[in-house]
Symmetry: C2
């Protein structure tokens, strides 16, 4: 197969132009352009373009023709004249395939970053100079688009989310009122109502909030209003509140207690078992103790998918304790919520329909833009009752209940729902199920590899898409409880991967692999672990 | 001058392809492509391309050449052969010039919008079908990019912000930790530290928050911690708090009081004068009354640029009252803050350096993306002291003070600073001053027009970029205090403009023109007012 020559004529963040020279029979391998739209102008010669798919289709193009191939559509181009010349336009520019891509995980010290590319000056610059500054920013940013980025509970992004953000950047509007955002209000309602349906509620309501932490804040705020609506006018009043969370729950619940004026002391930690799940008998004990000391039990926050171990608290059992104690049950499913899409795994959240509210993040496993978080609750009207105040007549002119701002803490409010909606709309509910199940399969492949490696020890039997693994020092070396953390630092230093670590109850560290990147394959994870095992410290 | 023929070959949200046929001497008018990058392939003939600027430059291009013109660069193309053919690529597609653009201000009922284009189904779709759905969403969205959109305290957008959002959509990372966002952390610090310098503080700290409302929430939370740090552990405790705000202040302060557990009653309204400014003598009275009834005076929130009238509370006078009463002084400058850039107008905020904190929105007047809000305060270390909790070791590994998440209520946190930074970086501090002063001049031109029209009455003598105007019914018609509101509805119904209204103390309505769109000219505003005057109701 003869080849063809490629030359880059122009490249910016928005457009890439290539020129290709061909000879008879030279052909491009079947390929798609990721999220780029590709347009080819035939300058010279005759070409056959084959669109791949269920029924491949070949069309002949002569000089002067323009061939447009939309994003994510695979094709192959062949020169069928003696020679040929084509000009290729990609918008946005082609991104490198993940495994070939740049990996930059080693941050420079901030003093080195705060240079002229960051500093704002008295006088301005050309747009192209700003684009140059963005290229510097890019070179100093962590490659979060790479499957080797596993530091957070998200990795990579979906092209649907990119489309959504492009839309919002030129269709800037606030979700506060229906009149300024009719279509986007309908989209937010669609997402929150589908999420309510997903957990089995016939009636529910929800709102997008700026992150999973904010969703947890809102849940406790709703619980307060539900218990005693007079707090809205009068404040918390005297006395101690009690909010029960597992000792593995997310720190945002403590922050919520501070912000809402309950204080950190109102957070009552409940013991967990070795797998990181709340122990219901200890929850009952804590309720009794709280009542004995005269505290006001407000809510239990169960976690579906804890941050470190990916553990699922037993919701159905906890719901029983809540019902007996008339406490609000909130489920923080920011990370674990995606299993609701999988009939094979959703039993981990059995009893979710008995909860009062839950947190769901579209930007974690499902790859929506930061942030795409939702608080959904089953008491219709409560969001507005707890949050609406007077003095908003300048903004909310009608009383028809569609203005999302009245249910929110925000006034100017971006459409956080749009990127998750775009992913869900494009893939369908079936597609989201597949995404969950594919990642479970990848996890199992990696688990199998781990079991073959004597120097890798599981920190837990994973229930979800966290895989926590101790890396032990090589045979003969002294035991070192911090060895895994040192491995993590070496992986970052060598730009191999950015994997987070955590510590066990004895303070020993382990690596936490997260299965979230849309294109993640077991080879990426095994590659990281192989690099970990071959690391040497001099 | 002979003309040329244009034919659209392809158009998507990301790429537009045109084909142009030329004859000898035909020439394109000098034009730029807004925020599009333009690439032209010469297919046939000979062309002269002139790049306009301080020293225009002309270059000859023959068949096979590619001419790339970056965003916002003006040029002119002329055919110098008998005939010619060019293919033009625009990425993103050309947007219509504001005055020629679509104006869609009339929302459909939500029941009509919730159709197949919005509904999420079990099965997925092609990417191109999703793009089709986005086109439907676009057709049902309000044209906020038009200068005839004046409904909110923002309008339109800057291309720099579009660039920033494109960057973030493919470089998705969280601002919580430095290790995951080194460059973006430096950028956030640059913006908040420049804002601190702008008000005259030698030392300060700041954080991006999801909207101006959230900035006000954070300010009151800091005030609580500053007054009594034990509230962090113990909660608000018994007793009534008092927070003093003018009767024209933003409703978010009430919401903040609810959320923070103080209750709406803690918000003490202070009287304003006819121009909407807080009356300091009444503030003193309210302080005395609060103390008398045993309340705990916590803070005063002054407003720089009220929502309806654009009034500026007298900060220096208020600061004196705060100092005497040891109360925190917060300034909500979400809308009015831009005058800090203008030596000619910043006296309206005289005394700002005496405040403890202020709110600044980059997404309002300055056209950054929604949301780009900041809370800046002059007590370095307070944000972290008030917000950091334990149990975050899994995320924050170092104690070097750069992890913005420890100063925040958010965990996963988008770079809200980037779009405002891009605008400020590109235009420089001088450019932002010019933007403020240009809009003041536009306002004055419109003011002059209003004074010539007997049926237009000023609701106030404007201090800032709000212009509140009563439209009176035609001569001979019955007086109607709601006439302006009806005019507003007619302007929306006829897709002429979306201008908000508000009401005076007697309940009479007036239109509120907002000078914020980057390309706003007096002709747009006068056009709206002319349409208002020529409206008839049958």
């Amino acid at each position: 197969m003869s080849t063809y020559l490629r030359e880059t004529l122009f490249r910016s963040d928005r457009l890439e132009v290539l020129c290709c020279s061909w000879s008879m029979g030279s052909v491009s391998k079947p390929h798609d352009h990721g999220l780029s739209t590709c347009a080819v102008v035939v300058q010279e010669g005759l070409f056959e373009n084959t669109l791949l798919g269920a029924t491949p289709e070949t069309t002949l193009f002569e000089a002067g023709s323009v061939i447009v191939t939309p994003a994510r559509i695979a094709h192959s181009l062949q020169c069928v004249s003696e020679k040929g010349k084509t000009i290729h336009f990609y918008s946005p520019p082609l991104r490198a395939e993940p495994e070939q891509g740049v990996r930059n995980f080693r941050p420079l010290p901030i003093a080195e970053i705060r240079d002229a590319s960051v500093r704002i000056q008295q006088s301005g610059m050309d747009f192209s100079e700003l684009e140059d500054a963005f290229r510097v920013i890019e070179s100093r940013s962590v490659t979060t688009a790479s499957p080797y980025f596993m530091n957070q509970l998200f990795s990579g992004y979906h092209p649907e989310a990119v489309l959504a953000e492009q839309f919002l950047s030129t269709h800037k509007t606030t979700l506060a009122t229906y009149e300024a955002s009719p279509a986007l209000t309908a989209i937010e309602q669609e997402v929150t109502s589908q999420l309510g349906t997903l957990v089995g509620w016939k009636r529910s309501e929800g709102i997008s909030v700026p992150g999973g932490s904010s969703a947890n804040f809102m849940a406790l705020h709703l619980a307060r209003h539900f218990r005693n609506a007079s707090t809205k006018d009068d404040g918390n009043g005297a006395g101690e509140y009690a909010i029960f969370v597992s000792d593995q729950a997310h720190y945002s619940l403590k922050k919520a207690a501070v912000v809402l004026g309950f204080g950190v002391k109102s957070i009552v930690p409940v013991q967990t078992d070795a797998a990181g799940r709340m122990i219901t008998s200890d929850l009952e004990k804590q309720f009794a103790a709280a009542k004995e000391r005269g505290a006001k039990p407000l809510a239990v926050c169960a976690t579906s998918g804890t941050t470190v171990l990916g553990a699922f608290d037993p919701i159905a059992e906890i719901a029983k304790v809540c019902a007996e104690n008339k406490a609000w049950l909130h489920v923080d499913a920011a990370w674990g919520g995606p299993i609701l899409f999988s009939p094979a795994h959703r039993n981990l959240m059995a009893g979710i329909e008995l909860a009062d509210s839950f947190t769901f993040d579209g930007h974690k496993f499902f790859g929506a833009s930061l942030t795409s978080s939702f608080l959904v609750n089953r008491h219709s009207g409560l969001l507005r009752a707890a949050n609406d105040v007077s003095g908003t007549e300048y903004l909310f002119h009608d009383d028809d209940g569609i203005d999302l701002g009245r249910m929110s803490w925000q006034c100017g409010k971006k459409s956080d729902a749009l990127s998750f909606w775009a992913i869900w709309k494009r893939r369908g509910t079936d597609g989201l199920r597949q995404l969950v199940e594919t990642h479970y399969r990848t996890r199992d492949e990696v688990l199998e590899y781990v079991r073959t490696q004597p120097r890798l020890r599981l920190a837990h039997q994973p229930e979800f898409l966290n895989l926590c693994v101790y890396v032990d020092p090589p045979p003969g070396a002294a035991p070192d409880p911090q060895y895994s953390r040192k491995i993590r630092e070496a992986l970052i230093r060598d730009n191999i991967a950015m994997v987070n670590y955590s510590v066990d109850r004895e303070g020993g560290s382990f690596l936490r692999l997260i299965f979230a990147h849309p294109d993640l394959q077991s080879k990426h994870c095994i590659g990281i672990l192989e690099a970990a095992l071959s690391t040497t410290f001099s």
